[in-house]
């Protein structure tokens, strides 16, 4: 005989069932909200680019808009430098380096380019010579010590150097070491060919890149067969497209969107990645003509935390007194050891009063039409005035800034702020009469960089670069403030993001659903 349920128990049971149903409904809604992209089943993904590169010629262009997508994905370097410091094979299957670091011999992989042509030693010699003669100084600088690039046999290339050069070896894992077929050089601007995991199907200016997996790729096949990179110049539109499920990732989110990203809590709804490679240091420049004590006193009025906080995204930048990005071995975050002139308003005010700096008129040149530079200036100038400096802000647009500062000789500023390339070699200056727009020239710094480049070991290189960084920060001309990182936002189901190994290139082959 069936046992009858007590009415209260029955009601509790119904209530439990209803609650379970409601919870299930909610759970279902949540599942729906987090459902994988419809493109996952189709083995596709759609990424967003903010800028159109115009040209894909990686020999003649250094635009980030190109460097994000072509290197490592379509065109590979001879070797890859991994985050842990190890070196992996690229187009070069293996290599030997002579003990004196003057001869590099690369064994070329027996594979084909994505157009089916075999990779030959001639192609490698051609590619290295093309980069050696590149109009982009960043690329050709790797070959400063190179005296010969020779084919040894069909699969071996030998590079001879006049002196040991770290920048040459590092360049072989960067854009300077990209290998292309000589026969396809004419179409490089619109259809670059390489040995990478993807080949470029189409590139439509101001619209999109379409990539598909390279069937002849020598390595592990990409997990996602087809990749579309859609060019959406409006950042907010890009974020909206991600929220609407129209795209799967924005691998590079510029600083102007960080606050919005936080406020909309997109950093919580999606996978936020930060990586230094696409980042930039922001730094003040104090004209070297100013007295060194005066420069040091000005540097003490810089409150790095305020500049960082002004961007409204704690994950986006680090305070630092070192001219570097966090992936560079000589980098150090702000600390007592590496900050010779820490924020100290009281100390600065005392020095200004003691040395009478209030009577020295200072001109602060700021870029009015670059928000991420005018924002720190909005903080810096009132702080300098509050400390007692007689500082006048000259807010000028980029055209006039270029005229007065980048091209002006002598440059027309006492203090300014800039953000850009983290390459420390840009401040090298062998001849004081040829100091660049920054006005900085130091024989000691230049020698330290040269010593680092000639280092025979990674350890020695690191020591010398740290020495150079120390000279730079103590000279108080280039005064680093913050290191902005690259920020990306991915669909939570799209996994496998790897920090760029070839410059800033996003390695799409590592991404998978």
């Amino acid at each position: 005989m069936r046992e009858r349920m007590h009415p209260i128990a029955r009601r509790l049971g119904l209530l439990t069932a209803a609650a379970a149903l409601f919870a299930g409904t909610l759970g279902g809604t949540a599942d729906l909200a987090e459902a994988a992209s419809p493109r996952a089943a189709e083995n596709k993904m759609v990424l967003v680019a903010r800028q159109d590169p115009g040209t894909l010629d990686f020999v003649k262009s250094n635009l980030t808009a190109m460097r994000l997508w072509i290197p490592a994905n379509v065109v590979e370097p001879l070797v890859y430098f991994n985050k842990d410091g190890s070196v992996s094979p690229g187009v070069a299957e293996s290599w030997t380096i002579s003990d004196d670091k003057l001869t590099y011999t690369f064994k070329i992989r027996d594979t084909t380019f994505s157009n089916g042509a075999p990779v030959t030693a001639e192609d490698v010699v051609y590619s290295l010579n093309a980069m050696k003669n590149s109009p982009m100084v960043d690329y050709s600088a790797a070959y400063d010590a190179v005296t010969a690039i020779d084919k040894v046999d069909d699969h071996t290339v030998k590079v001879t150097l006049s002196r040991p050069s770290q920048s040459f070896w590092q360049g072989m894992g960067a854009i300077s070491g990209l290998i292309q077929p000589e026969a396809s050089a004419a179409t490089i601007a619109t259809n670059p060919i390489g040995t990478g995991p993807y080949k470029l199907k189409t590139y439509t200016t101001n619209s999109a890149f379409e990539f598909e997996a390279n069937p002849t790729y020598w390595g592990e096949k990409p997990a996602v067969q087809n990749v579309s990179v859609r060019i959406i110049t409006d950042g907010t539109a890009g974020l909206n497209a991600l929220e609407a499920g129209e795209v799967d990732a924005l691998p590079v989110i510029t600083i102007d969107l960080w606050e919005q990203l936080s406020k909309r809590e997109l950093d919580k709804k999606y996978s936020l990645v930060t990586y230094p490679q696409v980042g930039e240091p922001t730094y003040a420049i104090l004209n070297q003509k100013l007295d060194k004590d005066l420069r040091e006193t000005i540097a003490r009025t810089f409150d790095r935390q305020s500049y960082n906080d002004a961007f409204g995204a704690a994950w986006g930048a680090e305070n630092t007194c070192t001219f570097a990005l966090p992936n560079q071995v000589w980098y150090s975050p702000e600390n007592a050891e590496t900050c010779p002139f820490p924020y100290d308003m009281e100390g600065a005010m005392a020095t200004i009063a003691e040395k009478g700096y209030a009577s020295t008129p200072l001109e602060y040149a700021s870029l009015s039409d670059v928000p991420d530079l005018s924002l720190p200036a909005d903080i810096m100038v009132p702080a300098m005035q509050a400390a007692g400096f007689n500082v006048n802000r000259n807010a000028i647009d980029l055209a006039r800034y270029s005229q007065l500062i980048f091209q002006g000789r002598p440059p027309q500023f006492d203090v300014t702020i800039m953000s850009g390339d983290a390459n420390p070699v840009q401040w090298a200056c062998p001849d004081p009469s040829k100091a660049g727009w920054s006005t900085y020239c130091s024989a000691g710094y230049t020698q330290a960089l040269a010593d680092a480049d000639a280092a025979l070991s990674q350890e020695d290189y690191t020591v010398q670069m740290k020495k150079a960084a120390d000279i730079l920060r103590k000279d108080a001309v280039i005064v680093p403030l913050i290191a902005k990182k690259g920020v990306g936002l991915f669909n939570p189901d799209l996994k496998g993001f790897l920090e760029p190994r070839v410059g800033v290139a996003i390695e799409m082959a590592k991404l998978h659903w």
């Binding site: 606050e259 305020s306 002004a310 700021s366 903080i379 100038v381 509050a386 647009d397």
Partner: protein, 300 residues
């Protein structure tokens, strides 16, 4: 984008043709446009004046811990911007700059336009043609281009913006003043004054100027409003004023990046611009109604 400029067609309406018979005061209470315009304009002028003596806080000093406070926060009733600077304080100083630049541009244009317009109207055909065609040529140059060139060569700022407005508005003023002055110069009392032996300059100063004063005042208010709009546009584009100066256009420029995060940052200066320009336009319309005897006769 084009620079804002009131239509010259609205200008010469009602050039008085005989010496003083107007009694504007009598009509004031009945003219709603005039009253509303006066109230709005006086309100912003008062705010600008007060800003010289009192500000809730320094609008240029960042207080990072207060960044992006919402409207209604005690002590910051309209909120704060991305660096924690008070919006009310910025609007008050912005009123000062926007009014200074708008009024400066309109005043200099009025002076230069009046001189050129009177010269064209009273001189011979060659001078008239030269000034008129010169004005046509200047009017054909886009105002924004003039402003950008000036900003690139002199550096941007309030003075450059005033100069750009002057360069842009003067040809229009010249046309309007010339047209109004020619109407007066054809009157019999002018012929009588000439027969009485009065010189050209005396006639222009004693008889023509007072009779075109109504047109000048109305035009001034309209160009004042256009100047504020143009300044806002230039500052929004980054070629107007810069900190430590503050204008409503600069506030719009700075709010641009935060619109997706804190839209009121753009709404408050936008609202101030709309009210100020509305006030000046209503004031101009009201004054035209009061000072224009033809319109008054039609109304009665």
């Amino acid at each position: 984008m084009t620079m804002n400029q009131p239509s010259p067609m609205s200008a010469p309406a009602g050039v008085p043709i005989s010496p003083p018979q107007r009694k504007p005061r009598r009509k004031l209470p009945r003219n709603a446009s005039l009253l509303i315009g006066l109230v709005l304009t006086a309100l912003f002028l008062a705010i600008a004046l007060i800003s010289f003596f009192y500000l809730p806080s320094n609008p240029n000093i960042p207080v990072i811990r207060n960044r992006l406070l919402p409207a209604g926060t005690p002590g910051h009733w309209l909120g704060t911007d991305v660096l924690g600077r008070d919006i009310i304080a910025q609007l008050m100083v912005g009123a000062r700059t926007s009014i200074l630049v708008g009024a400066g541009g309109a005043t200099f244009s009025l002076i230069l336009g009046t001189i050129a317009g009177l010269a064209a109207a009273a001189s011979g055909k060659i001078t008239d043609e030269a000034i008129s065609r010169g004005s046509d040529i200047l009017l054909a140059i886009p105002g924004m281009v003039t402003a950008l060139v000036l900003a690139a060569t002199m550096g941007s700022g309030a003075l450059t913006t005033i100069l750009a407005l002057t360069a842009f508005f003067t040809p229009s003023f010249t046309r309007v003043i010339r047209s109004a002055a020619m109407g007066v110069l054809n009157e019999d009392f002018i012929t009588a004054a000439k027969l009485y032996g009065r010189g050209k300059i005396f006639v222009l100063a004693r008889h023509v100027l007072p009779n075109i004063a109504g047109v000048m005042i109305v035009q001034f208010t309209l160009y004042f409003a256009a100047g504020i709009l143009t300044e806002a546009g230039l500052s929004y584009l980054g070629v107007g004023v810069h900190r430590p100066s503050i204008s409503w256009g600069l506030m719009l420029n700075e709010a641009q990046q935060q619109v997706g995060v804190s839209s009121p940052l753009a709404i408050w200066p936008g609202f101030a611009i709309v009210l100020m320009v509305l006030g000046l336009n209503l004031l101009g319309d009201g004054l035209r109604d009061v000072l224009d005897p033809k319109l008054a006769r039609r109304a009665s």
